[in-house]
Symmetry: C2
Subunit: 547 residues, 2 copies
């Protein structure tokens, strides 16, 4: 009779095995697929960059078109499948795809679409003497951007439960495609800057451009309409936005992949309101900084874009930009240090439960900060080797060192802040809201043999109090620091995002490394740096709200 009793248990066990097996197979297979796409893409990009046109960009574009078509088909399939099966996605991850990420995706997607239109208009002029793939590619890319933006906007929060293996593979395909596009764009941008210098004082240094890096096919082929070069200038100006778009899409695809099959617990939305009244000094100082930064940024851009060869004027503009940046970064470092000290003094508990979304968030933050770190360290080494001669070198060196310090401190501050429990206002009175105590008392009662299923829900009701007491000085200072840092990160985001490239206007690094090396470092690092500033703003907002 014991065998009969076991039967339902066995089915239960075997379904668990099937679930586990599915997870292992799908995750592994999708990982291997994306690995292969990435490395093959890397090889093709290197071939098109370093090779004397045996493999031109056309072959790379055919590979990209295949990838894009496959990804688009899968995304459409997923969207349709999900809309047909009403209860397909029951779990949503509230933290995934936050509004800044989706908003940024749409913004950069729009600018990428404009870039594609300019590209099409420009390449149509070459149709009579160049490959048709060059026109086909931007058309297909435009469709891809539309579909992908829609897909990620709607489904970014999904924790897919059905067809998990196919979904995993599809998401890894999406990730791989976006990263290969990113590699291609970064390489094209760097080659373009190397062959056709667009910054006024670069021509002085590199008059002679190596011939083998010029796209020899295009030189013989003349454009058939007159506005060709205008479109070309325009679309190269929009390249950085497309690079940013690929990074955003990659990050979102990765988060979705991590969430496949996850049974996300319903996040009890904190009813914490964003009250500006609580803070005063931080926002005021921050807004003043943003205004000052914007003013110097505009003056700097205007001076740099002027076409005459007045070196003194350029140096003055650069000095102003450097001084402004040094001031911003110094103020940020000091206030972050204050924030860290407050965190140290603070008695708040660390969040004890594991939270995969938060870990992912922290990983993305640190990973993105690597970009700025790399640029700063390369800059430090170059300026230090130049011996700090001249005030521009000194300022550049100071900027590099201070940026490294600021990045380290800010990472530390944000991660510490995200790992703290929200403030409990009524701390001395409602001592039972301390989760550790709750747990301990639960353990006590379980020892007495009580039923585990009737345990009290751990949702704490600390934020439902209607009267708000005055903030303690620690909370107040933390909030001021967060608000100031948030605004400072916004201005540090605006400057590179809208075209400031002091890295190419100042020639120490270009002379020290070769131009192509320095262009590669900046073109890889800066988009991550821009992503990092946006991510920091969002994280600081979260720290502001919970502290």
């Amino acid at each position: 009779h014991s065998e009969k009793l076991l039967e339902p248990n066995l089915t239960l066990a075997s379904s668990a095995v099937v679930r586990e097996r599915g997870r292992s197979w799908g995750g592994l297979l999708s990982g291997i697929i994306s690995l292969n796409i990435l490395i093959l893409g890397c090889a093709l990009v290197s071939a098109s960059a370093f090779n004397n046109s045996i493999i031109g960009s056309a072959e790379l574009q055919i590979f990209l078109i295949i990838l894009i078509l496959l990804t688009t088909i899968w995304m459409l399939y997923y969207a349709i499948y999900m809309s047909v099966k009403d209860q397909a996605v029951t779990y949503k991850d509230g933290h995934a795809g936050p509004i800044w990420l989706r908003g940024g995706l749409v913004l950069f997607g729009l600018l990428s679409l404009i870039m594609d239109i300019f590209k099409i208009a420009s390449y149509v002029g070459y149709l009579h003497c160049d490959s048709a793939v060059k026109v086909a590619f931007p058309v297909i890319q435009a469709v891809f951007i539309l579909v992908q933006t829609y897909f990620l906007w709607i489904h970014a929060k999904d924790c897919a439960q059905l067809q998990r293996n196919i979904t995993r593979c599809g998401l890894m395909l999406t990730l791989g495609t976006n990263l290969v596009i990113w590699m291609t764009l970064v390489t094209e941008e760097s080659l373009h800057q190397t062959t056709i210098p667009e910054y006024p004082n670069k021509t002085k240094i590199y008059d002679k451009v190596p011939d083998n890096e010029l796209n020899t096919a295009n030189d013989k082929c003349k454009c058939s309409h007159s506005s060709c070069s205008m479109f070309k200038d325009a679309y190269y100006y929009l390249y950085p936005f497309n690079i940013e778009y690929s990074l955003f899409a990659s990050a979102m695809a990765y988060v979705m992949w991590k969430n496949v099959g996850r049974k996300a617990d319903e996040h009890h939305h904190h009813s914490v309101k964003f009250r500006v009244k609580d803070v005063f000094l931080g926002p005021i100082a921050g807004i003043l900084l943003v205004i000052a930064g914007l003013a110097t940024f505009i003056v700097y851009e205007v001076e740099v874009l002027k076409d005459d060869d007045d070196d003194d004027r350029l140096d003055r503009a650069l000095m102003m930009h450097f001084v402004m940046n040094v001031v911003i970064v110094t103020l940020m470092s000091v206030s972050t240090m204050v924030g860290c000290v407050i965190h140290r003094l603070d008695q708040r508990e660390y969040v004890s439960e594991k939270n995969p979304t938060r870990n992912l968030d922290v990983g993305l933050l640190i990973g993105a900060s690597m970009g700025q770190f790399i640029i700063s360290y390369f800059s430090i080494v170059a300026t230090a080797a130049a011996g700090g001669k001249g005030y521009l070198n000194g300022l550049n060196l100071a900027w590099g060192v201070l940026t490294v310090i600021q990045l380290g401190l800010q990472n530390f501050f944000i991660i510490e802040g995200l790992h703290r429990e929200p403030f409990h206002e009524e701390h001395p009175i409602t001592v039972f809201t301390n989760p550790y105590v709750l747990e301990a008392s639960r353990e006590l009662s379980s020892l007495e043999g009580s039923d585990m299923d009737t345990k009290p829900s751990p949702v704490l009701t600390t934020h439902t109090l209607s009267h708000r007491p005055k903030l303690t000085w620690k909370r107040r200072v933390l909030k001021e620091v967060c608000a100031f840092l948030l605004l400072a990160n916004i201005i540090l985001w605006i400057m590179p995002a809208f075209g400031a490239r002091p890295q190419f206007d100042h020639d120490v690094e270009i002379k020290f490394y070769k131009f192509s090396v320095w262009a590669a470092v900046v073109n890889i690092g800066l988009p991550f740096g821009i992503f990092y500033r946006m991510h920091s703003v969002a994280s600081l907002f979260e720290v502001f709200v919970t502290s």
Copy 2:
């Protein structure tokens, strides 16, 4: 009276908070430290590689010396502290620092020491006209290798519990130092190959070496003793072993860092014996393959190292080497596929408990396989672009494609194998050893209100049976496949580890990419590939034992 009751619970809670806080601070700080070391090292290495000797290798070596001294001091401090405090390490991770890793460390450490001795002997001849740092560096490095090898041999399994933050920072310092040394070595090796070609048929392609990549300082400075060039040749031959040593040390430091503060559960050592009797076909085929591989490898090396310029002879040697590799990889792919099918048919359960050491192991395996993947894909693109003209190109292409397939399949097979429960011999009789059933019945009893603390220990006694039944055909085939793959991986390890570089003897890739790009790809990828083969052997042995 309720406050009195809560007091012990509060102390309990606050100690938990302290523990959590310590973990967060230490982990974060150590991560930021190693990040900074790495990026600064990367900038310095790039500067010394791409720069026209404003920053020579001397500055980089001073940075390395500082890093090495700090690391050495910390390692000595840790070793002494641990020997003084007897009960400092109570937990050991049985899976960390397996014998193949420690054995490899000692082997490569010895060869690195010999390299350092040759280096010292060679640089002493330049002392009268070159920087003394160049002699100081190998001396310090030799001491470092001795201390580090001792440290890792003794402490690789530690799960440090005391001074966790200092230990974390120290281990990250160790990791950073080893990776910076690795970067330096790879760069030096690539530059050396670019400037002084040591492969017979490379000179044909690159007669003119770019001047700015020559170490101009050394050209004016003549060596004062006659055996200088001999030592130089010898130490460059030993470079790959030092690169391998850095990778091994990095992997072990990373595993130790992950284990800091971990309360490892005592691993109940499986009493499974390694019985060769069970298998027959796999080992025989494997040994035949190893012998054939060794024979062709020796012939190939002898032919390549001959100094005359007979192209036909070289091509014949290359063809033999390619054919041998294609045969090996094809046989491996087929047998791996058989193994995967068996896994698919198999009814064994997946291991349900989370095991951080295994996850780390799998991560290292996949990460290391990237190296071989990158080389193969770059080779595929180059040979495919050349159109497969000539039998050598065709063989090279086939080798690349088959290697990619083999790597993917082998990763899949090993990971699947590691995630399975060991075979339970007495399956039909002792049905209760199925852990899922056990759990289900436990759940049943818990519903009846029984005490959770008296649950039966989940240790299963399946391996204590004294009589061994005949193996099922599935187990038999799995074991044969594992044994064959294990031996095949050994021969694929031997060839590159002991100097086979068909990547430089065949000129398609060198012509397609520039030589410096291809040298960088091979010099970065190949050491990871060698590491991967050793790791695979160890993992396959584990799969062999548990299946």
